[in-house]
Amino acid sequence: MINHIWFGLILIGVITGMFTGNMDQVSEAVLKSAEDGAMILIKLIGPMSLWLGIMKLAEESNFTDLISRVIRPITTRLFPEIPPNHPALGAIMLNISANILGLGNSATPLGINAMQKLQTLNPDSQRATNSMCTFLVINTSSVTLIPATIISLRSAAGSSAPMEIIGTTLFATTCSTIAGIIADRILRKIWS
């Protein structure tokens, strides 16, 4: 799947560029994207180190066990393949909480940490498991209570009620998360 999408974007892009006369922009964009990617990741190193440190503490002290026990009624249904009390559940819980609270810079490292723990349960280290796909879909559709970035953007633009979009955002994200989980359950049966 990803091979087709990747090749398709490049092929269509370069051929379009030939006809639209945008080859100079394409040429510039190729190298700029690589630089941008590196910059994004350099900025990620700090939060990544910080949250991996905190999560190591949560693991060593068995704090993650405590969390997984509390959320077990939900997680056993969402992630039936993860053994109860597995540390992955605690990390997943913290990532989802960070997303709900609009703490994007912390959600990514916590999500990666959860992926690393899901990887320890994976029999084929290069192929995504069902649980990984479910987790990824929950993340891309993330239920959000406080869309922090957009609220600050609205208040900077002089909105009289920057937070009035909280209700609509909560509704839209709840719909997309439910749709994502349903899609996950159907697709896993037909996708090898």
């Binding site: 799947m1 974007l9 394409v26 990620l44 905190i54 690393q116 920057p162 994200t173």
Partner: protein, 176 residues
């Protein structure tokens, strides 16, 4: 209500950090040493993501810079408008799953042009807050653990994005 949410957002990180560190401390964990032991993995984890993110960003940037995305937009806009989707919002819906900075730029423009409290301004805000950059998440989350076969994850993520897009339009119309 709004004020409580603001406090919740501001308090969350310090309270989570304190809770985990204090819990470990009282469980006799050597907190400082164990923290640094975990944090040392930060750099290697991020380094593993580099090839995946560069691959993804390169393909997306070629698609955008060549004008292919604009052509796709010109085709989609009249079709979607026929189904009652405001044409101003279509570029945002299309760019959102591909590029986080790109979509943030579009939202900023829409808010400036139409005003934050206009219908388009509110719709753009709801959309930006309610969907994620699916391609970035796939590259970063799967890349960090070396997953190459992403199976159906992108398709399921895009289905969720589409439903979020339609739900945002529906609810913004209903509420405002």
């Amino acid at each position: 209500m709004a004020l409580y949410l603001k406090y919740l957002s501001e308090w969350a990180i310090p309270v989570i950090v304190l809770t985990i560190v204090a819990y470990a401390y009282f469980k006799q964990v050597k907190v400082y040493e164990v923290f640094t032991e975990g944090a040392v993995e930060g750099v290697t984890t991020v380094v593993k993501i580099i090839p995946y993110l560069i691959a993804m960003l390169m393909a997306i940037s070629i698609f955008r810079a060549s004008g292919a995305l604009d052509i796709l937009l010109n085709i989609l806009q009249p079709v979607l408008q026929f189904f009652g989707i405001p044409k101003e919002i279509v570029p945002l819906g299309l760019v959102r799953p591909l590029s986080g900075t790109g979509s943030l730029g579009i939202v900023t423009e829409l808010i400036q042009q139409y005003g934050p409290d206009s219908f388009i301004g509110r719709l753009a805000s709801t959309l930006q807050g309610s969907t994620e950059t699916t391609f970035y998440i796939v590259a970063v989350y799967f890349g960090a653990v070396g997953i190459r076969n992403t199976r159906y994850a992108i398709v399921a993520g895009l289905i969720a994005d589409l439903v979020g897009f339609l739900a945002a339009i529906y609810i913004t119309r209903m509420v405002f």
